[in-house]
């Protein structure tokens, strides 16, 4: 509500404690922000939910922002996030975008929840006809109206004891999407969740999503992170997903933040018997981006498919960390992450696959492919397989390369000029992932945005 207020507190603290370390300053900053947040909660600060927030803040203080000495963050230096004072907000900004400005992120679906700087924008949101029992609302509302479901699932899948960003998100968890699909219900149209960042201030935007599919429920979700500003704000989003037996979920994510923005995201999934989870994660924007996708195959015959595409230009850093935990037998996972890196951009891929002692007959396949379009672009890629069962099939492979000369020559020898040949081949590399998205309107939008991004990279 009052950004100026928290800023004053920060300034006062820093003046008073000139000798503070960065960690201490950060702690003071987020502590004072948290106190403002509590005030904004108007008496709800005594709920069990809020106890979780307090615990998370405490844990965040203890952990601090990670340094590159932390193995999990070896290639990704988050010092620019740690050093800046991002301002939390406790309500919608005064000026919100027009429906027209965000129209293209509707993806042809009647169900669209819009969040501006992390806060639910009711006027921009539409919910079409849904089957009985389906809940589609914002988390702040769900805290009141679906308290049992929230208590049963909130903060149960995204642990914050090791990950300071999840802790920080949880501490300020206030709004985001809440989706509940009851047993046997198939939602026909995709649900679009649009997160728009606006304004010129360095806002802290911590959306928190909770998605619960009961037995045999089916759903497609599109999360898009877009902006109307080129400011340096900080999105720190966590999505928790619970899939009941035989549930099927496709989770598509379009990350198209400002090129000055920081985007840290965690998707945590818990899967029951025969459930099927697909994540398609497309990263185009952001100056420093870290995506964690973690799924626990906690019962037999589950399937998880994780696909990713990063397109980096300029000095962007796009880091994808995936974790697939094969905890039970007979599960399958397929993973394809691709990156196209131009300019001085950097990519990181770390693919963890655990196969627990129990998890016989696991079938896991991981592929990471990177196309480097310039001499200055770099990728750090690391498969990390930890296998404790003996009757399993696990494969992984990583390739890094430039455009294939034979392919370029083949196209040119048929009359296609060098630039168009490069465009065609680069886009073909990307379309392999884009084509795995099953929401047609999103696929079209992605084709458009990937093309535009590649052209922008060539100009710079």
């Amino acid at each position: 509500m009052d950004q100026g207020g928290s800023r004053k507190i920060f300034d006062a603290c820093v003046r008073k404690e000139v000798g503070m370390s960065h960690q201490q300053k950060t702690n003071v900053w987020y502590q004072s922000s948290f106190e403002l947040f509590e005030k904004s909660l108007n008496g709800e600060a005594t709920t069990p939910l809020h106890a979780i927030r307090r615990g998370a803040l405490e844990r965040f203080h203890a952990l601090g922002f990670p340094t590159t000495k932390n193995e999990e963050w070896r290639f990704t230096n988050v010092a620019p996030i740690a050093k800046a004072a991002f301002t939390p907000t406790f309500g919608l900004p005064g000026h919100i975008p027009s429906a027209k400005e965000i129209e293209r992120f509707s993806f042809g679906t009647p169900h669209r929840l819009v969040f501006v700087n992390g806060h639910f924008a009711k006027d921009l949101s539409t919910v079409g006809k849904l089957s009985a029992g389906v809940a589609l609302t914002n988390l702040a509302t769900a805290f009141k109206q679906h308290r049992d479901l929230v208590d049963a699932h909130f903060s149960k899948y995204a642990p914050f004891d090791e990950n300071p960003f999840v802790a920080l998100n949880t501490a300020f968890a206030q709004d985001g999407a809440f989706i509940y699909v009851p047993e046997g219900c198939q939602v026909d149209d995709a649900i679009s969740l649009v997160f728009v960042a606006v304004g010129s201030e360095p806002f802290y935007i911590p959306p928190r999503n909770l998605i619960v599919l009961e037995e045999r429920a089916q759903l497609q979700i599109v999360e898009s992170f877009v902006t109307t500003t080129n400011a340096s704000y900080f999105t720190n989003v966590v999505s928790e997903i619970s899939l009941g037996r035989d549930a099927v979920l496709e989770h598509d994510k379009l990350q198209h933040e400002s090129l000055q923005a920081f985007h840290i995201a965690a998707i945590h999934v818990r899967q029951k018997e025969r459930s099927n989870f697909t994540s398609n994660s497309i990263a185009l924007g952001g100056s420093l981006v870290r995506n964690n996708v973690t799924t626990v195959l906690g019962a037999e015959w589950c399937e998880a498919t994780l696909n990713g595409l990063s397109v980096g230009t300029g000095t962007q850093l796009i880091d994808n960390h995936t974790t697939i935990d094969h905890a039970k037998p007979n599960c399958a996972s397929h993973e394809l992450y691709k990156a196209i890196l131009d300019g001085k951009s950097r990519g990181v891929f770390n693919g963890k696959i655990f196969v627990r002692t129990d998890a016989q007959k696991t079938d896991a396949k991981q592929t990471n492919m990177t196309l480097l379009l310039s001499d200055d672009a770099t990728i750090d890629t690391k498969p990390q397989l930890e296998i404790f069962a003996d009757d399993v099939k696990c494969t992984h492979g990583a390739t890094v390369g430039q455009l294939d000369e034979n392919q370029v020559f083949y196209l040119r020898s048929r009359g296609i000029d060098e630039k168009l040949a490069a465009d065609i081949l680069t886009f073909a590399f990307a379309s392999d992932v884009v084509n795995r998205v099953h929401v047609p309107a999103l696929r079209e939008q992605l084709e458009f945005l990937v093309h535009a991004k590649l052209n922008e990279g060539r100009k710079s």
């Binding site: 392919q407 020559f409 196209l411 040119r412 020898s413 048929r414 009359g415 000029d417 065609i424 073909a428």
Partner: protein
Amino acid sequence: MLEIRNLHASVNGNEILSGVDLTVRAGEIHAIMGPNGSGKSTLAQVLAGRDAYEITEGEVLYEGKNLLEMDPEERAREGVFLAFQYPVEIPGVSNSYFLKSALNAIRKHRGLEDLDAIEFLQLVKQRLKLVDMDESFLQRPVNEGFSGGEKKRNEIFHMAVLEPKLAILDETDSGLDIDALRIVADGVNKLHRKDNAIVIVTHYQRLLNYIVPDFVHVLVDGRIMKSGSKELALQLEEKGYDWIKAEAEKSLTPA
């Protein structure tokens, strides 16, 4: 149409072509034969503009213009076509999209309008028949998952759509069974006209049973050692290549 004079080309300092002379006129079919490693494919690639080769001497005139100065795409737009010995797989790019991009680039160069989607489809459907391929090949990624024979047929299909003036077929017969060979040869024969020329690079004579050349040249050690009529190909089939070499050496040895 094509005039190659004393062409020398090398890779990493190793000379592969050591003075090739060849003249091809419109309406003619030439066969270039020779043992493995004689430089046949290098010649084909050099003509198409592969930059892995360094031209150390000689010149190539195509319709009176210096071919070696042109980029590969410019050559293609001027009407030069190479059917690859090993057609390249392009995952993620449909045959149809690829051909449409190529055809429109060539048409633009010739001052013609782009074909719209319907006109293009009509054209490619008609040309597919020429090589007995079904329409499913249009939407498949270029050469990906094609059998060896399908790849070669696809090359001739591309040729049929792009209608080059000078087509160079590099070992188009290799990997083809007898039925496919006949289909490919029939296709090439139908595409042959008075105003275009075809250069067939091959190791074996069998393709020449179906596509009858006006001239047969034997390339050995980077030079054309012998030229003749189609009967020369039959002789080579019977006697191999060694006698040509021996004959050439004899003629080079001072008396």
